[in-house]
């Protein structure tokens, strides 16, 4: 096995990225809304989601 593959970090595979829990996507505005129509992107507690839920897939949008 090539050393790049040997040293790669393994994580559980997922066929699709899970949608935010208890939230709906507001198509007209282009944002996710949570409880009470709050906008998830403005919730500091959820900012971790911006790095693809902590599963690194590269920064080129090709692996998501």
């Amino acid at each position: 096995m090539h050393i790049l593959q040997r040293l790669a970090v393994t994580s559980p595979a997922r066929d699709s990225t899970p949608m935010p829990m208890d939230a709906r996507y507001d198509f007209a505005v282009g944002v996710w809304r949570g409880e009470g129509e709050a906008i998830l992107a403005l919730d500091p507690a959820l900012e971790q989601h911006t790095k693809k839920m902590d599963v690194e897939t590269g920064e080129d949008q090709k692996g998501q």
Partner: protein, 314 residues
């Protein structure tokens, strides 16, 4: 009927695009966000000659036409094949044709694309990045792209060496996926019979380094230093727990800032995330990410979303 002046091309999980949409709304800009993974839920009619795109969803109609000013392009330039299973014919059809539809939106040639997909595609080439960075005056670590286990790496690059993939390594096998981070390894550990099977990037390892992330939008630049428990990080900082990593504003010398802007212009990019490393009093160029993540850095101190909207609106 709404005629958007800004088109946001993203996917449902790109939460940083939520921030762009909010800032667009607050600025009073008419916009439409299309998510690649949601296109089949919409009714779309594209006239490529006019050009004109009609979008219907949930009783509402948007028409994208010559009034379109700009496009926020958060799309892959191609899809990496990391499925780990054979796609059904229907899945292959869905995947290829919707990606082609996204590419077809390039008919809006009068709009400002941030970034232009062709510039993004070219700038994703990591070897080309190093060459251009060197041409504009950056210090670039000695690098060799090779599959040759007999290459004189200790003498030319160093030992240990930073081992990197030439392109993102995201592999799927069964129920697991693997991602290759940069690893500091001995050259001896690379020199086995499998090394020759694929090319990889061998780069001078930087020690006692401080990782710097530079985000550029148009003429604005923000830089943060990345530390683990208040210290610089050996190897790839992404291998540390996020909760233990801090990102603090860092002021670059004017000369380095200017060099970042020159690099952007040379590559034809408006927005990107540049990775630098400060080591031995040198600002080393590591890589540039033309579709880089930035939502994790957006804050009142670093109003990146607002800057993107200003760029899209002007």
């Amino acid at each position: 009927m709404i005629r958007p002046t800004v088109l946001v091309l993203a996917n449902l999980h790109d939460f940083s695009s939520d921030k762009v949409c909010l800032a667009l709304a607050q600025a009073g800009v008419t916009y439409l966000r299309l998510n690649r993974d949601q296109l089949a839920e919409l009714r779309l009619r594209l006239d490529p000659i006019e050009p004109r795109l009609k979008v219907e969803f949930d009783g509402q109609v948007w028409v994208v036409d010559e009034t379109l000013q700009s496009v926020w392009f958060r799309q892959p330039t191609y899809l990496r094949n990391a499925e780990g299973r054979i796609l059904t014919a229907a899945e292959q059809l869905y995947r290829s044709q919707w990606m082609a539809f996204i590419r077809a939106l390039s008919v809006f040639t009068d709009a400002r694309w941030v970034n232009d997909p062709t510039a993004t595609f070219r700038a994703e080439n990591k070897a080309w990045q190093l060459r251009v960075a060197s041409l504009v005056g950056f210090d670039v670590p000695a690098t060799l792209v090779s599959n040759d286990p007999t290459a004189p790496v200790p003498a030319t690059i160093g030992d240990p060496v930073a081992l990197k993939a030439l392109d993102t390594v995201l592999l799927r096998e069964g129920e697991t996926q693997t991602f290759a981070f940069t690893q500091i390894v001995s050259w001896k550990s690379c020199m086995d019979e499998d090394f020759q099977k694929i090319p990889s990037t061998l780069q001078m390892a930087l020690h006692d380094k401080l990782d710097l992330r530079v985000t550029i939008v148009g003429e604005q630049l923000w830089c943060v230093a990345i530390r683990h428990k208040e210290r610089g990080i050996e190897g790839d900082w992404r291998l540390h727990k996020k909760s233990e990593v801090s990102y603090e504003t860092f002021v670059l010398p004017d000369e380095i800032e200017n060099r970042c802007f020159v690099l952007m212009r040379r590559m034809g990019l408006t927005m990107a995330g540049i990775d630098l490393a400060l080591s031995d009093q040198h600002y080393w160029f590591i890589e540039i990410n033309p579709t880089g993540e930035w939502g994790w850095l957006d804050s009142p101190e670093r109003p990146i979303a607002n800057a993107i909207v200003s760029t899209l609106s002007c």
